[in-house]
């Protein structure tokens, strides 16, 4: 998994590419650390470049959302398609991650 962060007006846009699965947990944690170091009140996860998400990936999204709640910023997930979109719909995470 790879990601690119661009921040503007306290809004961080993160573009992902690759898969978001268990084996990417170290990178994802690093991302959360990177976000925590910046003053943001909103983060947008762009998943258009993501092919595959497993339950671990979804668990990590939930961890991100927890961090958002604690730190006081909003999390929005956009651009999901195909398998990823189905997963988000099935688990009703799409509603949850609509900040």
């Amino acid at each position: 998994m790879e990601y690119q962060i661009t921040t503007k007006d306290n809004v961080a846009s993160i573009v992902f590419s690759g898969d978001i699965t268990f084996s990417e947990n170290v990178s994802f944690r690093q991302l959360l650390k990177d976000i925590a170091e910046q003053p943001v009140n909103r983060c947008e996860f762009d998943l258009s470049g993501v092919d595959m998400v497993d339950s671990a990936g979804l668990g990590m999204f939930l961890i991100a959302r927890e961090q958002a709640d604690t730190a006081g910023w909003k999390l929005a997930v956009t651009g999901a398609q195909g398998h990823v979109a189905s997963m988000l719909k099935l688990t009703k995470l799409a509603d949850l991650l609509d900040g």
Binding site: S55, L58, G59, I63, L90, T91
Partner: protein, 407 residues
Amino acid sequence: MDGDYDMALGDNIETAGSASELERSRESVLAGSLGRWLEMHHVMGRGYKTLDHEIDLVAGLVSTSTDDLSALFHNLIKNAKEQSTGMDEIVKAASLVNLGNETLTLPEIIGYLEEVFNEGIMNVLQLAQTAMSLVYSLDDVVIDVKKVVQQIGQIEQINKQTNLLALNAKIEATRAGDAGRGFGVVADEVRQLSQNINSVASTLRGHVDAVHNGIDQGHQQLQSIASLDMSGNLKAKDRIENMMQAMVLQNAEFQEKLAASAERSNELESDMSSVVMRFQFQDKAQQQLDGIRMTMTVLQDLGTDLATETYNETGIPPIEDDSDIIEAWVDKVIERCSLGEMRQRFVRGMLLKADHTDVTVSTKIMAADEDEDIELFGAVEASAASDKTESSKSKLDGFEDDDIELF
């Protein structure tokens, strides 16, 4: 018969010599004519009686038939209602499930299943989140473990120094000879200590490695918990949703059909009530038949009045019922009526007997008479009237609204 009298008149005129003879023959001719009129009046009286009885039978037939039909239609209405109720119950039952002490509707069942499914999904997510949190916590532990390892390394480093120092001290002590003997002992002790610390450090390292391995194992186990391929669940959820939708659609179709059936049932009821109301024609028919009978009575009375006068004036003897003359008249009537054989017998019996009580007509007899074109109710389509093979049976059994033209 008339011809005979004409000839007799002619003969009388030819052979009459005097005016009084002419006058007498004229009188006898007139008397003969009057006599024949009186006979005809008598026969017409019997005819009227026959017709009157016939009308009575018709009235009775109509009354009985309308009663029977009315009863049948009421029964039909009742059955239609029951059928409609039955269908209503079936549809209701089809969309309910009985669970002993509770009854569930289809939407409730579907809702429950969806809830259960979603709960399952939620549990999986919860598990995944917790597992990943654990992974991160373990990562932090590993950091600390690494620090511990580092520190152990430091201990070992320090120990190495200590050992070297002790070695150096031993060498100096030996060089000092006896004066350094005590110092040499201390140096030995320090070296021993150092070795002890070394083995403790080794043991520590072993334990920490074990901890590290344990954490690695935990990591692996968490991976197997947290990373589930949920595409199977996705497919299942889709399929379940399709099944639910199909069930809901089917239920809706049932309800639609039920509503349509109820409507048809109402229409049927309404139509049949209209039919039952139409049977009221029977009253009107009865009235008209009564009118006919009254008119016939009036006509007969007119004739009877005149006949009585004639009897008084001419002194002609009253007519006997069973005479041959009357029978001849009856034959004439029958000859001119287009009646079938059976009806002929019936009519003859009516005309020759004084009472009419032993003649009965059932609907079956009427129905089976294939020679008759019985037109009970007004005009029938010309095509049906002309087709003699179309028996009265079919007319009476296949009762259609078009055939009733009383008004």
